[in-house]
């Protein structure tokens, strides 16, 4: 992304010549790129604009700007229910991220550093988890969580989210850990560093980029997960954003402006996170793994 952002000075002079060479094919391509951009951008823009309109204005004048910008739709959405869902999501997402980072990096450390028959089995066991998907385990999980008395609590989501994020996390972290030079740990051992010290003082500090990738991927998953959130949580006050939004829609019926405001609010944290950490998301994904 970086190298293209700053078009160098000599390139700016060229276009006059380029412009003449602009063939019909290029013109059509440009037109299609622009049309596609509008198709992507317009619904998002519409969501933001309409979130400040009244129901009548949305219904009778889809394209128009609001006659008065109803910013209070946002405070209404927030105070109605979104704040609760938001805090629930924040809690579930943060705990999941922290646990995935700690538990995943510990396992990846061992799986990268040791080589025995047992370690190989453990490696297949952990990474093989990628073959399983939440859909398939849904019904037994529901029963297991019920018998553990965890159903309808945030822990039902947190524990399952951690478990389903671990295989990918371990795969990514282990790959990165394998590239850490062995000499570093050898000199650390000579200096009297313990195993735990090697993990904490050498491996973790040296792996910040991939840990950030893990944070983005896990945050994205936990914030947006819908299936478990809908089925494992019944009580209104415990719902996270994705399932809460569905209730929000049903409760509001025609109060579309407020609904749209709630949708915008629900999107803000991930937009912020992705803007700050975008390059780590791309890095993690181009390692050849998984899509949100």
């Amino acid at each position: 992304m970086e190298q293209v952002i700053e078009p160098s000075v000599e390139k700016v002079i060229k276009p006059s010549r380029k412009l003449r060479k602009f063939s019909i094919g290029q013109f059509v391509t440009m037109l299609m790129l622009a049309a596609f951009a509008i198709v992507i951008l317009y619904p998002l823009l519409w969501m933001v604009i309409s979130s400040m309109k009244s129901y009548n204005e949305i219904f009778n004048d889809v394209w128009g700007l609001p006659s008065t910008w109803l910013v209070e739709n946002y405070s209404l959405a927030w105070s109605k229910d979104i704040s609760g869902y938001f805090m629930n999501s924040l809690f579930v997402t943060s705990v999941t991220i922290i646990a995935v980072l700690i538990i995943g990096s510990m396992a990846a450390f061992v799986l990268a550093r040791y080589k025995t028959r047992w370690i190989d089995i453990a490696l297949i066991f952990t990474i093989g988890g990628m073959m399983m998907n939440p859909q398939v385990a849904l019904i037994p999980l529901f029963n297991i969580l019920t018998s553990l008395d965890l159903i309808n609590s945030h822990w039902a989501l947190i524990l399952t989210y951690i478990a389903y994020r671990l295989p990918l996390t371990i795969l990514l972290l282990r790959g990165y850990f394998l590239s850490i030079p062995k000499e570093l740990e050898e000199s650390a051992i000579i200096d009297g560093c313990t195993e735990f010290g090697i993990y904490r003082r050498i491996y973790l500090p040296m792996s910040v980029p991939i840990l950030l990738t893990t944070i983005v991927l896990t945050a994205f998953f936990a914030w947006n997960e819908f299936l478990f959130a809908t089925i494992f949580i019944d009580s209104e006050t415990l719902k996270t954003i994705p399932s809460g939004l569905m209730n929000f829609r049903d409760a509001l019926r025609t109060d579309w402006g407020v609904l749209l405001a709630g949708m915008v609010l629900a999107s803000l944290p991930m937009i912020a996170l992705l803007i700050f950490l975008q390059k780590y998301l791309v890095q993690g994904l181009s390692e050849g793994s998984v899509k949100g």
């Binding site: 276009p15 538990i103 399983m132 999980l141 295989p167 819908f226």
Partner: protein
């Protein structure tokens, strides 16, 4: 390797992961296979053994064939657009001719990825709304009123409306992945092709495609897997309707289990989903491991 007599660290460090995976991933999977031979419901936990009855029911279940077909449609359209079109898009955006607009377009195309699928699905409820929806209003605006549709209420069209939304949501993301892959291609290859006087299309097929074939393969696998598992989009937009015309395997399983409370048969449906995706996942794991170590 091990100098100490017994090193406790590996055990301690692996234990949490193994325990969590065992309890929440592997045991449920095995349990699911076991459940598929029984007839039971959520609340009355008495299970009746029915042998292969649930599997026989699969063959008689008309919804399964509709759902499977919809999953396949999902996969085909997604592969064509999210792998095929996204690759072309990435190639165009990396072309020198477009280098001034590319950074902006890349950000625009990527935007939907940042929005959660439940928000996107609610938004497309407005796009497809038959009375005030953006799509119908737009068709009216450009004088194509006869193309107006009840996008989510028409038996023939509903599933395609759902699929279209998924494409809108994901295409920019895959494009970005391909851009990353294309940027890794050595520039000399293109320069050599320029000297040979190769055109843009020629260069696309004889340099870009072979050079990013691994990314193409991985993205195809991920896209097909995603299409077999898809749940949120049809569930939120249409709930599988009208009738069951836009249902997919996951939605059918959910409704069988948690709406009709027929957990045994729902477990059997889950096995089908598992089989459809496990093989693809296995190939993916193999690939990502050979790339890394050894």
């Amino acid at each position: 390797m091990q100098r100490r007599k017994f090193n406790i660290i590996p055990v301690l460090f692996l234990l949490p992961s193994i325990a969590l995976l065992l309890v929440f991933v592997y045991i449920p999977l095995i349990q699911n296979f076991y459940n598929s031979f029984f007839d039971f419901s959520v609340f009355s936990q008495t299970k009746t053994f029915v042998g292969f009855e649930n599997f026989k029911a699969l063959l008689a279940d008309k919804v399964v064939s509709v759902a499977l077909l919809n999953n396949v449609k999902y996969a085909i359209i997604s592969v064509v657009l999210q792998v095929g079109l996204a690759l072309v898009l990435a190639y165009i955006l990396e072309d020198k001719l477009f280098h001034r607009v590319a950074p902006f377009l890349r950000v625009v195309y990527f935007m939907p990825v940042m929005i959660s699928i439940s928000v996107v699905a609610l938004l497309f409820g407005f796009v497809y709304n038959p009375q005030m929806g953006l799509l119908n209003s737009f068709l009216e605006l450009i004088g194509l009123e006869n193309l107006k549709e009840v996008w989510l209420g028409n038996f023939e069209i509903a599933i395609y409306s759902v699929i279209a939304m998924s494409q809108w949501h994901s295409i920019g993301f895959v494009t970005l992945l391909f851009i990353v892959a294309i940027q890794k291609i050595p520039k000399e290859l293109y320069e050599a092709a320029d000297i040979d006087g190769a055109g843009k299309i020629r260069k696309f097929f004889s340099i870009t495609v072979p050079q990013v074939k691994e990314a193409i393969f991985v993205n195809t696998l991920i896209t097909i897997t995603g299409s077999m598992l898809v749940f949120n989009e049809p569930y939120i937009l249409t709930n599988g309707g009208p009738g069951f015309s836009s249902t997919v395997m996951s939605v059918h399983m959910y409704q069988t289990g948690f709406v009709k409370d027929n957990m045994g048969y729902a477990s059997t449906l889950a096995i089908i989903i598992f089989i459809l995706t496990a093989v693809l996942a296995l190939i993916q794991i193999k690939l990502s491991r050979t790339g890394k170590d050894d």
